[in-house]
């Protein structure tokens, strides 16, 4: 009794975007995830306009310089400006991450919803397969693909999109199951609505925000995975600036020029 509503949402229209925003705000990791996504996007869009130096230009006069007014973060062993490289280093990673997330949420979400709806032996079989794929260490999976097939962005996007789509299947499936159990879906079934209408009108609007939140949460995680790939030499090919690659390359000179390693880390 006497339930105290924590927000005064009683009279606010439950717009989808508002709900997503509220869901994200409720979970701290969600809001942080969203913040990171926003920061990254802004960075990616504005960096090309604000970089002070060409990130791939060598300056043999200025090798391993300490941070200064000219080179804000100093320079690396080839005399490249670390600040510019840091700014630009996210471009490819962000693009790959973004497309992979869209791919994984799209196919994983769709399959997850369908499985949740259908149930039965097919659902059971596919979920066991999902378990099996999840048991394979993801980094090894990605390295295997990158190592054997190649490190082109397209391939990495497909590999990441596939791998995380498998995760999304589980999320979407359980979200669907919880919605399907509700009376309004039962009411739609009792009315005799077609399966298509039930999915489109009753389920999707209620599962969609779960998927979006999931996408936002995966964002920084995927970015970490991708930069780890680059770090190991299977992501972005030098000399294109990339955070992971930069750290790997500058490790050897760490003792003398810590700035070259340190600054790219703090993406």
């Amino acid at each position: 009794m006497a339930a105290i509503p924590t927000t005064d949402g009683h009279h606010a229209a439950p717009n989808v975007l508002v709900t997503i925003w509220q869901n994200l705000r409720c979970s701290p990791s969600g809001s942080i995830g969203l913040l990171i996504v926003a920061a990254h996007l802004i960075l990616a869009v504005i960096s090309p306009w604000i970089v002070p130096h060409d990130p791939t230009a060598f300056d043999s006069q200025a090798i391993l310089q300490a941070p200064s007014a000219t080179y804000l973060f100093g320079t690396d062993h080839l005399g490249r400006d670390v600040f510019s490289r840091t700014l630009m280093g996210g471009q490819i990673a962000l693009m790959v991450t973004m497309i992979s997330i869209v791919i994984s949420v799209a196919w994983g979400g769709l399959l997850g919803i369908l499985l949740g709806l259908m149930g039965g032996w097919l659902d059971e079989a596919i979920m066991r397969l999902v378990d099996a794929i999840r048991a394979i260490p993801e980094m090894l999976f990605l390295l295997l693909i990158a190592g054997i097939v190649g490190t082109e962005n397209g391939i990495l996007i497909l590999a990441l999109g596939f791998l995380y789509g498998v995760e999304v299947i589980r999320i979407a499936r359980s979200a669907t199951l919880s919605v399907v159990a509700q009376d309004f879906v039962l009411a739609a079934r009792a009315r005799g609505e077609s399966r298509r209408t039930i999915v489109l009108r009753e389920l999707l609007p209620n599962v969609f925000d779960v998927l979006l939140v999931e996408g936002a949460l995966r964002w920084s995680y995927m970015l970490l995975v991708f930069s780890a790939l680059s770090f190991l030499g299977f992501g972005v090919t030098p000399p294109t600036p990339d955070w992971g690659v930069m750290i790997a390359q500058n490790r050897t000179t760490f003792g003398i020029a810590p700035w070259a390693t340190f600054f790219p880390s703090c993406d």
């Binding site: 009794m1 006497a2 229209a13 439950p14 039962l186 079934r189 609007p205």
Partner: protein, 692 residues
């Protein structure tokens, strides 16, 4: 010590929103509770009664704080206590019994450990003595095998048993004051009657003081000496129990009493218009003014003070209303039960030719035989619903009654095509209904509609009321979307909602309004048969009768047939023509509602009727059947054999009972012939509803 045990003085509790607005949940509440008495605290959901009761234990919901006033227990201000003193207060002086025992017991601890921990801590008992005390109380609460129970985990107990454990836990400490927050809500009527009875006997014996919180006037009438009625965070009326029920002075109390369906009444109760305000809603000086028939301009501007109607010691009657004198006069001039018009009787009771829906030997089972069990030839568990034969006449309301787990909903879903029966026939006119809904024709789907119990769950939160109502229109009538608008307005009007509700989302509606939208959605299909699944049990009393009114109104206008599921016999009496009683998925009795008024009944019907509480003080329920949990129907004999108060002996356990039909067309499934049943039943004391 002459001071009262509890003194609440001008207590205001509330919270501050993020925007900085102050939202009081309790306003200026003052109460006195003398030793050895029981105060009943009634009110609808959200009226602040739980907040008030918890304040006696100095417990505030997180985010809430005391704006003003104080609570004194044994002369000490509980909100001023430090940690240790607070633990002492809760451990020794004030015991608490929560509503939801299944949630309130720690799932990872054994019953014994939970029940004894505060005894060893606060009462200085050693483990053995604590066990002894708890076992004794378990025994008093008639829990089976109290010794063994100590070693059990909460999930191994039934709901009624958990509730008894929680009560016994609180009693074991022998506190001065027992605060009970809806301790029997959510229990079946028979279990509720038993638990109440035990509670009263034991607390009476201990001379315990109680604060009994409930939304249920019937329960409060049974247990209290004094009743306080709360509305929107205020105590609006307080009086001795007999006085409150015989001479209410606040329009809200009057309205509440009138809105109660009673087993003695065959007509619809009168609802209170509107719905209670949410804490943040703007309100008049008197919170009840918008719903009040007596309201004047004064009620808008001037906060009513607490007036004293009667002052003699022990008979104190107070009311917070400007016009209470008018209310008393009104009470004197208008007959106590001035209610809406009785339902038109439907004269097709035994006319088989008019049967709209026929069920023949229907069985539904959820158990799917496992391959392994089939190979081992293990006997299959008894079906959830079995051998149900019923005919529902066109235009009538057939109520399907039974306790939780009786298979009412399962049966309804079988008719709706959501769960296929495993045996038997369901026909609608001459059309076959045993097929699942997705194989039924559009026409059949249209004419059979279902309304669910919980409107929070049955309306899609992402659709506006307009979109929700459009769906059946789009599905069943190939009509131009431009015409929807008009149709939707009409539908809303039928359920007495204003046209602007069309643009609202379900989260912006109150419970009663949501249920009306669900009703409008069902009627958008222009149905012939509407299946109602406990449609009012999630609603507050004052709103419940308004929804029932809408339903009967629609029936009178459109001649639809209702298959109406409920556990509330008083509601059955008010709206149904015929009633079918289910126990464990087996029909026990089918007959006209009027036949509930006198014997013969099936022993189970008799038990249910006996357990019904009357909203009158001094009319205790009759406890007939033993209150033992009966989780699964027996494999042989009569389904009710384990709890039957008229048990004959081996025949009931071995042979399936026959159907007897009385002269008036009532059917009873029992080994005892109706004539004998009648003799035995009338020989005993009159039942709850036969009292007046």
């Amino acid at each position: 010590m002459n001071q009262p045990l509890v003194q609440v003085e001008q207590l205001s509790i509330g919270y501050t929103t993020r925007q900085g607005a102050v939202r009081p949940v309790l306003r200026d509440v003052s109460l006195t509770l003398e030793r050895g008495t029981t105060l009943g605290l009634v009110g609808e959901s959200g009226c602040g009664k739980s907040t008030l009761s918890m304040s006696l234990l100095a417990h505030l919901r997180s985010g809430s704080r005391v704006f003003g006033g104080q609570v004194q227990v044994n002369g000490t201000n509980v909100f001023a206590l430090d940690r240790t003193a607070l633990e002492q207060l809760r451990g020794r002086q004030v015991g608490f019994v929560p509503q939801n025992a299944s949630q309130a017991l720690t799932p990872t601890m054994r019953i014994g450990a939970q029940a004894t921990e505060s005894l060893t801590l606060h009462r200085g008992l050693d483990t053995a003595a604590a066990h002894q005390r708890v076992t004794e109380l378990f025994q008093r609460m008639r829990l089976p095998q109290p010794e063994a129970l100590l070693q059990r985990y909460p999930h191994e107990l039934s709901g009624g048993q958990q509730q008894r454990v929680v009560i016994a836990m609180a009693l074991a400490r022998q506190p001065d004051l027992l605060v009970l927050d809806e301790p029997t809500t959510g229990l079946d009527v028979t279990t509720q009657a038993h638990v109440l009875h035990l509670l009263q006997t034991i607390t009476h014996e201990y001379g315990m003081t109680m604060l009994y919180v409930s939304h249920d006037l019937e329960v409060v009438a049974q247990v209290s000496d004094l009743v306080a009625v709360m509305y929107a965070g205020e105590v609006v009326e307080m009086a001795p129990v007999d006085r409150l029920f015989s001479q209410p002075c606040h329009p809200y109390t009057l309205g509440l009493l009138a809105s109660l369906p009673r087993i003695t009444q065959t007509t619809l109760p009168r609802p209170i218009p509107g719905h209670p305000p949410a804490p943040h809603e703007a309100r008049a000086a008197c919170a009840f003014a918008p719903r009040c028939a007596f309201a004047t301009q004064q009620c808008q501007n001037e906060v009513p003070a607490l007036s004293t109607v009667e002052q003699s010691p022990g008979r104190m009657h107070q009311v917070r209303c400007h016009h209470w004198q008018h209310v008393i006069q009104y009470e004197a001039t208008i007959p106590h039960n001035g209610r809406s018009a009785p339902r038109e009787p439907v004269d097709t009771l035994h006319d088989r030719t008019h049967a709209l829906l026929t069920l023949q030997d229907v069985a539904v089972t959820y158990a799917r035989p496992r391959l392994l069990d089939r190979l081992r030839q293990r006997p299959q568990p008894p079906a959830t619903v079995e051998r149900v034969s019923l005919a529902v006449q066109r235009g009538e309301t057939l109520a399907l009654v039974g306790e939780s787990g009786s298979g009412k909903t399962t049966l309804l879903r079988a008719v709706a095509g959501l769960k296929s029966p495993s045996a038997g026939n369901i026909t609608f006119g001459d059309l076959d209904l045993t097929i699942p809904v997705d194989r039924r024709s559009r026409e059949i789907r249209r004419v059979i509609q279902i309304i669910f119990q919980n409107p929070d769950a049955s309306l899609n939160p992402r659709q506006t009321v307009g979109q929700i109502l459009q769906q059946p229109l789009r599905l069943y009538f190939d009509r131009d979307p431009a015409q929807y608008q008009e149709h939707i307005r009409l539908l809303l009007e039928q359920v007495r909602l204003a046209p602007h509700y069309e643009r609202r989302f379900p989260s912006q509606l109150s419970g009663g309004e949501k249920q009306r939208v669900a009703i409008a959605r069902a009627f958008a299909a222009n149905p012939e048969l509407v299946l109602c699944d406990e449609v009012t049990s999630a609603l507050d009393v004052s709103v419940q009768s308004a929804v029932l009114e809408v339903l009967t109104d629609l029936q009178n206008r459109q001649g639809v047939t209702y298959l109406f599921i409920t556990h509330n016999l008083a509601v059955v009496r008010a709206i149904a023509d015929r009633v079918a009683v289910l126990y464990h998925g087996r029909l026990c009795e089918v007959g006209a509602v009027a036949q509930l008024a006198a014997a013969p009944w099936h022993p189970y019907t008799e038990t249910l009727l006996g357990a019904v509480l009357a909203p009158e003080p001094g009319a205790p329920p009759r406890l007939l059947a033993r209150d033992v949990p009966d989780p699964a129907p027996p494999a042989r004999g009569c389904p009710f054999q384990r709890r039957c108060p008229r048990h004959l002996g081996p025949i009931c356990n071995e042979d399936p009972p026959p159907w007897h039909t009385t002269d008036s067309g009532q059917r009873i499934l029992c080994h005892i012939a109706p004539h004998d049943l009648e003799q035995r039943q009338t020989a005993e004391a009159s039942l709850a509803f036969a009292r007046d």
